[in-house]
Symmetry: C2
Subunit: 361 residues, 2 copies
């Protein structure tokens, strides 16, 4: 068993203060008390975090690596987040940059249950990137969302997810929405991906209802739901694939490649949605590339998770985005297909055929 695992923080500090600041983080993220008040030598030896090394990244920022005790996690996903960044998230001179996940944690969390292979199998798509769009705007009744889903499906899209704003509102309650969309798409290859909301109890009831309707893939936002909630759902519904949404991701304080690429995958997300470069959000190409590689690269034997670039994508960028991310990717275009209005199916067909025909550089 790994007694320790390394956590990397990027810390703004002076060259004369960084050693003390690093030591303070090591204490804050482990025992949170003065070390000279600790009477038990085994706690100082086995539990207190210690500074492994400090590297000057230039520009007043240092990479601090801290070795935390694996025993402090206790196998719970929210507690992992607590030990990584709980109190330190309240300090605005620190970004949580990376974690070397201990193998036994990877084994106990389990990561994606379906991953890229399982998502491809659902829609019988090999040798090309996958495609996705989104049902919106919220406010539409269930039947109109279902009608929209049919038009996307007619255009050949693989997955149609609920907009992450669709919860259990009066205008399209989860049950009515899922029944309407599942009925409308029955017998088709296209998968409808409803968004879970509410407590673990509510989400479980939603998953049972979705399963009755033949749905095998759902959307969840781990930072809204709570990491332990997602951990429980993934373990409790092993036949269901999970797409993770980055809502409330507060990108500037936790490195996106860590949060979305690594931690969401560890939790069991089979696909991870993130705002790609050049869209409405500020992630750089380098961040996006690292995020995608982290999601699907080697990680302690966990299944690869499918990167899903999104957030203001348009049809004209499909070739560029495919060359950037490669084959094991799912492109998500929502608003810009909807903007075609009466031409939505044709625009969706242009999207899906462009993805299918793309020749990778």
């Amino acid at each position: 068993m790994s007694d320790r695992f390394l956590v990397t923080y990027h810390v703004r500090a002076g060259a004369d203060t960084i050693a003390a600041r690093a030591q303070a983080i090591a204490v804050e993220q482990s025992v949170e008390m003065p070390l000279d008040a600790i009477e038990a030598p085994e706690i100082l030896r086995d539990i207190v975090g210690h500074v492994a090394d400090i590297a000057d990244l230039g520009g007043g920022v240092f990479a601090v690596r801290i070795a935390l005790a694996t025993a402090t996690i206790g196998g719970d996903a929210a507690q992992l987040l607590n030990m990584l960044f709980g109190n330190t998230s309240l300090h605005d001179d620190v970004v949580l940059a990376d974690v070397e996940i201990p193998p036994e944690l990877a084994a106990s969390f389990g990561g994606p249950r379906h991953g890229i292979t399982g998502l491809r199998r659902r829609v019988a798509a090999d040798g090309r990137a996958l495609t996705c769009s989104a049902l919106k705007p919220q406010g539409l009744p269930a039947e109109r969302l279902a009608a929209l889903a049919v038009r996307f499906a007619d255009g050949g899209v693989d997955f149609i997810k609920d907009d992450h704003g669709l919860a259990n509102q009066a205008y399209s309650p989860f049950a009515a929405r899922v029944r309407a969309c599942a009925t409308a798409l029955r017998g088709r290859k296209t998968r409808y991906v409803p968004s879970l909301s509410g407590s673990l109890d509510a989400m479980r009831a939603q998953l049972l209802l979705a399963r009755e309707e033949g749905i095998d893939t759902v959307l969840v936002a781990p930072l809204l739901a709570g990491f332990s909630t997602v951990q429980a759902l993934v373990a409790g519904f092993p036949d269901t694939a999970f797409l993770a949404h980055p809502s409330l991701g507060g990108a500037s304080r936790v490195a996106p490649e860590l949060l979305i690429g690594k931690l969401f995958r560890l939790l069991g997300a089979d696909a991870v949605i993130f705002p790609t470069h050049g869209g409405r959000f500020g992630y750089t190409p380098e961040t996006c590339r690292r995020l995608a590689e982290t999601a699907r690269g080697d990680l302690l034997g966990l299944r690869p998770a499918l990167p899903v670039p999104a957030g203001g994508m348009v049809l004209s960028r499909v070739p560029e985005i495919l060359d950037f991310y490669g084959l094991d990717t799912m492109l998500l275009i929502g608003g810009s297909l909807l903007a075609a209005r009466e031409r939505l199916t044709a625009e969706t067909a242009a999207f899906t055929s462009r993805v299918a025909a793309h020749r990778y550089r």
Copy 2:
């Protein structure tokens, strides 16, 4: 019913770009799609967020108020957070500054079930501030934590909370810890406040076990647990009082007075722990004062929540802190009492008697 409620964002922008940026946030936090792609006029009228006003705060920062549709929340706490800051949290030019909570949301969430009065009644303390300390370091076995609790209780402290790092680790599992501490404090006025962790299922089992042991107050970290989890616990255990911990609060992106003072209270936290000025964290005195006033001031008929300043407090600061926060406050001193080691009970007694004897300016 209030169709709309106002959300305030602080946005870094130029005078020439702020109008467009504000409009983009209004769309992102409601329908998240191009408005000209929306075919239904009732969505444009009833669901799309609109910019209410923009005020120049100076220094390149603007206060943008956006009117969101109350119907988009659907009564779920995590969905409230999603609509307030879901995707916009991914933009690092925006801080979520404030929300005018609609009365029907306050009524349906319910806020604190016990509040300041209920916490005072638990420990029969009137006319003075309350006192609190913390069991740590993690790594100690249950019996040693219980022995520590007895020494704090001998010093007369009102509440003894688990360190928020105490979860369900092998070295002091929740059940063993709670039984040991509850047994050790049985018959005393001092309340032991265990920290909940894991999924909603796990937390419910922990609450049932705690209740069997006579415990009536618990600790929970809403950002780790998920807002909907806390909402379900508060509704399901109306006799239990909840202390909220700010772990993972990412203070620089959500105004602390909003997140901890207002939203945690709305969720039902009876007391809210926060890092006070002059300690290990960077909140200013003005932020702390506003946070405390938001937690216990008038808010749509909700019971007041007790402000619990913490985070590096020391005995010598007690008079200053009491004058700053006033009577309806609970002081939380952890590490600095533990640093007294063999004099822990005497130091705790000095703390509690100083609080009891304080004459407010």
